[in-house]
């Protein structure tokens, strides 16, 4: 039981020490002008980076949607050409002139009186 208490106390003390270190570091940093200037620059760059990343995402999204609509249009085009082809196949074939009707194509040899 003593061992458990001791380990618990040591763990808590370690955290307290790290906390003190963090406080001191924060204090030293807040008094250092060079650090503060650098920090300001860093934060500005970070904000810029976030903006650029957002912009990049927007562009990627736009490219994706363009690709999607392109695919859709291509599909529509393929469907259209299929329809046209089917319609062309269904049209009446060109009549055979050798077996044509005499009314339509009068025989030259028969000359009416």
């Amino acid at each position: 039981m003593e061992q458990g208490s001791a380990v618990a106390a040591i763990a808590a003390m370690a955290f307290v020490l790290v906390g003190v270190f963090q406080f001191l570091r924060g204090y030293v940093q807040s008094t250092n002008k060079d650090y503060l200037a650098l920090r300001e620059k860093y934060e500005a760059l970070q904000a810029k980076n976030v903006a650029l990343e957002t912009n990049n995402l927007l562009w990627k999204n736009r490219a994706l949607s363009t690709e999607k609509s392109n695919r859709k249009l291509k599909n529509q085009l393929a469907q259209c050409s299929e329809t046209i082809q089917a319609a062309l196949n269904k049209t009446r074939p060109i009549p055979d002139l050798s077996q044509s009707n005499t009314d339509e194509f009068p025989d030259d040899t028969v000359v009416p009186e």
């Binding site: 208490s5 618990a8 808590a12 955290f15 906390g19 406080f23």
Partner: protein, 132 residues
Amino acid sequence: MSETQVIKVVKGIILFITFWAMGLSIPDANSITLSYIQQLGINPRLFQILFLVSGSINLFIALRGYRWNAIWFAVWVMYSVAALFAYLNNANIPLITVTAYLLLTTYLTIDVLQDADLFEYIGKRLWNREVL
């Protein structure tokens, strides 16, 4: 509000609820985990107050966007380590409870080490000494 800030606020709220629930549930009567802490001469009532204060400060830190500080996790770490030892000494604590305590402790430890830059600090010191 950026994603990081949202995560921090959510974490602060979770810590606040956890710490307050733990603080309020610490009974005045003796429990085995508390007896580990009492052995160090710490009054359970004081321990309870430490829990409530730490929870509130963690929420404050999260809402203001400040850096986490290890001091405000210490009370939790102490309690979870004591619970672990109580469990190992066959106290009547469910395994899932101890596991949950230790998971949160690990998570907080990682957070502290990342923020404190201790490894980087020690590494730089050692490196400079070697070079010089």
